[in-house]
């Protein structure tokens, strides 16, 4: 404090400056004091502050002392000229230390075996703040670990309630699968009704696990299954490596972000026992031809536009949950991972003369949702999945360490032919905008009927969450949108549905920046890493000899020998799929009966779906009018009307179950008419029966 007091008041009142620990600092465009302190070179600790998300002020670690105002959190305080800020005082250090101590007291400290131990921010803070003892007793009751998801594991015993996952899911992805529940000492971060994270609307993007500072949300590990296959002499393990993995894995070994290490990955995998090492980018080239051909056909006929890309499994699940009536706009192409799985399993079985059951396809992905995708029932052949196991970049790094390999000194090896050969377009899939750019390099050239410089489509590159470009192809205009982050994607789709925007092609990716920033990549913070990885992808594209998927000679050969032509019958069988509406609520039946109004003697039972999509299409009014109609006819004792959730025909809603029959695209008039007829029949039947009884008596 004495330092700050010694500064002449004339300096303090100078416009646009303030004092931090005795140093004069100029206020720039920083949104809050925390950003200013950090830009002044002070690495202020925080849990809950992320520049992309809203300010929350929960972790209390970024506290500072403001002269005349006392202790405040710097993330929630705007910098003002003349402020005198202390960051490093005995009192502040003591408070920060107690805060961390308290967090440790309610934290399940099994650090050595925790999946996050190498990147745990709590552990880092304990070391940085010099916390050496925990004087508080821990909470007794342990909560069960949620393993319901194929992609994620939620361990509530390690949650520090920073709310990062809640905000990333809500603000960045627009899903809101997690939120705070209960109160006081019982507060927890939970999916709705405490259901498993795999049973709710979670799309498996894993951004919650990437942002989680502790081991409360982690990626489900499939490492053991992969080792088992690698050690099994009866198995032939063929590996595919996604484009983004090669520009991310170096960071796990302390190398610079964005550097390419595909050679080291190949060498490591071969030493670990993999038989064939291929490239997902080959399958990405294949995707370009299939998806591009599909797009050209739709574009020519002007139907099912805009065409959405379908490479991102988190986006696909969101579309199935939220936009069932737009599923036909999704490209029917499987993702490169799944194209690779079905095709290579078949081709390798042919080549090696082994049963396809002996071929084990291993995917190395930057993505957690790919684990979910590989387990989708439509991506299996003869009861066995086309892709047998998916591990993330981080899991691969862990396996390399477990195999006692020194990644940095590995002699780079090459990928195997022919499925290790790719064009630059295939590599582009790793960055947001890459799929659109790759498809344009193919479809654009065909539409323009001339050779095009690949650089013409660089306009779809960038870091903004939504980008658009109108591309002139010799008189034909192609309107393209690229969106990353599912909240932005939902805003864009809502614009398209409302007719405010019109596009021909939309690329949608869940993770900000695309696959390079997938939740399976080494943990990262800040934009610099994102840019470095993106540049790494673009550099790879530039360095490869071919930039267009259609130029890939091994792909041409594959079409000649196996697939005939893009969109052929066999291509459809192996490379395409279909989507189905998916209920958001998991196995959650609705039952509005309160036990008082049950009409047990009802002759007609009507259930009206009030799920999201039927609701949007007016099931709410339908239900309302129907109840009025029944009341008007005083038929309440004969008819039992109840709302229900989801018959999984969301694209054909509103759906109504009339007795045992499920009706689609219902209107009130239709249901009311049907009900009237039913009641009439009932009345006449009753009349005859009454007549009969009368006759008998």
């Amino acid at each position: 404090m004495s330092e700050t007091n010694s500064i002449p008041s004339a300096v303090i009142s100078e416009k646009n400056t303030l004092i931090i620990d005795g140093r004069m600092v100029t206020i720039g465009s920083e949104r809050n004091l925390l950003e200013l302190i950090r830009s002044a070179g002070i690495n202020m600790p925080t849990f809950c502050y992320h520049s992309d998300l809203s300010v929350y002020g929960a972790c209390r670690l970024c506290i500072v002392e403001l002269q005349g105002r006392g202790i405040v959190t710097s993330c929630t305080t705007a910098p003002e000229p003349g402020m005198v800020v202390s960051v490093n005082t005995a009192e502040l250090r003591r408070i920060r230390r107690i805060t961390v101590e308290l967090l440790l007291a309610s934290h399940d400290v099994n650090c050595p075996t925790c999946a996050k131990s190498s990147s745990c921010r709590l552990l880092d803070l304990v070391a940085r703040l010099g916390v050496s003892t925990v004087r508080y007793r821990s909470r007794a009751a342990k909560q069960p670990i949620d393993t319901s998801s194929l992609s994620l594991v939620r361990d509530p015993n390690k949650c520090v309630l920073c709310g990062d996952c809640v905000r990333v899911c809500q603000e960045m992805q627009g899903i809101g699968a997690l939120d705070f529940a209960y109160r006081g000492s019982k507060v927890q971060v939970l999916p709705a009704f405490g259901q498993g994270i795999g049973e709710v609307e979670c799309v498996n993007c894993g951004q919650c696990s990437a942002i989680c500072p502790t081991g409360a949300l982690t990626v489900k590990s499939d490492i053991d299954r992969v080792w088992q296959a690698l050690h099994d002499p009866s198995k032939v393990v063929a590996v595919q490596i996604a484009p983004a993995v090669r520009v991310g894995i170096g960071e796990a070994f302390g190398l610079a972000a964005g550097e390419t290490h595909i050679g080291q990955i190949a060498a490591a995998l071969r030493q670990m026992g993999a038989s064939y090492i291929y490239d997902t980018a080959f399958a990405a080239d294949l995707t370009v031809l299939e998806e591009g051909t599909e797009f050209l056909k739709r574009f020519r006929l002007g139907e099912r536009l805009p065409q959405f890309t379908s490479c991102c499994p988190a986006w696909v699940k969101l579309a199935e949950q939220r936009y069932p009536d737009m599923l036909e706009n999704l490209s029917s192409c499987r993702s490169p991972q799944q194209m690779f799985g079905s095709l290579i399993k078949q081709e390798l079985a042919k080549e090696t003369g082994r049963s396809s059951d002996d071929i084990f396809i291993l995917s190395i992905m930057p993505c957690t949702a790919k684990k979910f995708e590989a387990a989708r029932p439509e991506f299996s052949t003869g009861g066995r999945p086309d892709v047998d196991a998916v591990i993330t970049t981080q899991e691969l790094a862990r396996m390399i360490r477990e195999a006692c390999l020194d990644f940095t000194s590995l002699e780079p090896d090459s990928l195997d032919m022919p499925f290790g050969f790719k064009s630059g377009a295939g590599i582009l899939f790793g960055a947001s905008g890459g799929v659109a750019e790759a498809v344009l390099r193919f479809a654009g050239e065909i539409t323009a009927k001339r050779w095009l410089n690949p650089a013409e489509f660089h306009r779809v590159r960038g870091l903004e969450d939504t980008r658009e470009a109108c591309i002139d192809l010799g008189g034909v205009n192609l309107s393209v949108a690229v969106v990353n982050g599912l909240a932005a994607a939902q805003r864009l789709v809502d614009d398209v549905r409302a007719g405010r925007k019109r596009y021909d092609l939309i690329e949608a990716m869940a993770c900000p920046g695309g696959c390079i920033c997938g939740a399976g990549q080494p943990s990262m913070e800040g934009n610099a890493v994102r840019v470095a990885r993106q540049q790494g992808i673009y550099r790879l594209d530039t360095m490869l000899q071919m930039h267009k998927s259609q130029e890939n000679p091994y792909l041409q050969q594959l079409y000649k020998n196996v697939l005939q032509e893009p969109g052929s019958h066999i291509a459809h069988e192996l490379l395409h799929t279909h989507y189905r509406p998916r209920r958001r609520t998991g196995a959650h039946e609705i039952d509005f009966d309160t036990g008082e109004e049950q009409s047990e003697g009802a002759a007609v039972h009507i259930e009206v779906c009030v799920g999201t999509n039927c609701h949007i299409k007016g099931s709410h009014d339908l239900l309302h009018n129907l109840i009025d109609h029944i009341d008007k006819n005083s038929a309440g004792h004969l008819v039992d009307v109840s709302p229900t959730f989801c018959y999984e025909a969301c694209d054909r809603g509103p759906t109504v179950k009339f007795n045992d029959e499920i009706l689609e695209k219902c209107t009130f008039e239709e249901i009311a008419g049907r009900l009237d007829r039913e009641l009439e029949q009932l009345a006449s039947r009753e009349a005859t029966e009454v007549g009969k009884i009368r006759d008998e008596s």
Binding site: I175, D179, F180, L190, R584, T585, T594, V610, H624
Partner: protein, 153 residues
């Protein structure tokens, strides 16, 4: 349900008021009802669940026909409110872990201060307030309710 939502214009900012009205209707907040509210208001289900579990006023469990609120605030506590809680445990096996009888007749709620400390210990059964309650008095009230219920059957 729809009437309640309509009366609040399906406004997500009025979630708490909507939950209050719905609970009045159903006596508790069933999960499917919360899902339905979330869908109608365009809110994530986890958010609605979070709000419903934050406030002690909201219950996600069905409550019995008679809600017995026993005050365990300071004044009632020193006037032996614990003996009343013990009575509920003895007679109906009701406690913190099991608040409602299997026949859905009684729900026990331990509350902190009903604002009638001069009458301590205080018990409120549904909307009726009983002051200076002891074990015998509470026992008699409960007997009365049981007899009443028996007669109705």
């Amino acid at each position: 349900m729809n009437e309640i939502l309509d009366s609040f214009n399906n406004d997500p900012y009025r979630l708490i008021a909507i939950l209050q009205s719905v609970q009045e209707e159903y006596r508790y907040l069933p999960e499917p009802v919360l899902s339905y509210i979330a869908t109608n208001l365009g809110l994530p289900r986890a958010r609605v669940f979070g709000v419903a579990t934050f406030y002690a006023h909201f219950s996600l469990q069905p409550k019995g026909k008679y809600v017995v609120r026993i005050c365990d605030g300071t004044a009632c506590h020193v006037n032996r409110s614990q003996s009343l809680l013990d009575l509920m445990d003895e007679r109906f096996k009701l406690n913190d872990n099991k608040p409602t009888t299997d026949d859905m007749l009684f729900t026990l709620e331990k509350v902190s201060c009903l604002g009638a400390c001069g009458l301590a210990p205080v018990v409120v059964i549904n909307d009726r307030v009983y002051g200076q309650v002891n074990v015998d008095k509470l026992g008699a009230v409960l007997d009365e309710i049981l007899e009443d219920e028996e007669r109705r059957r």
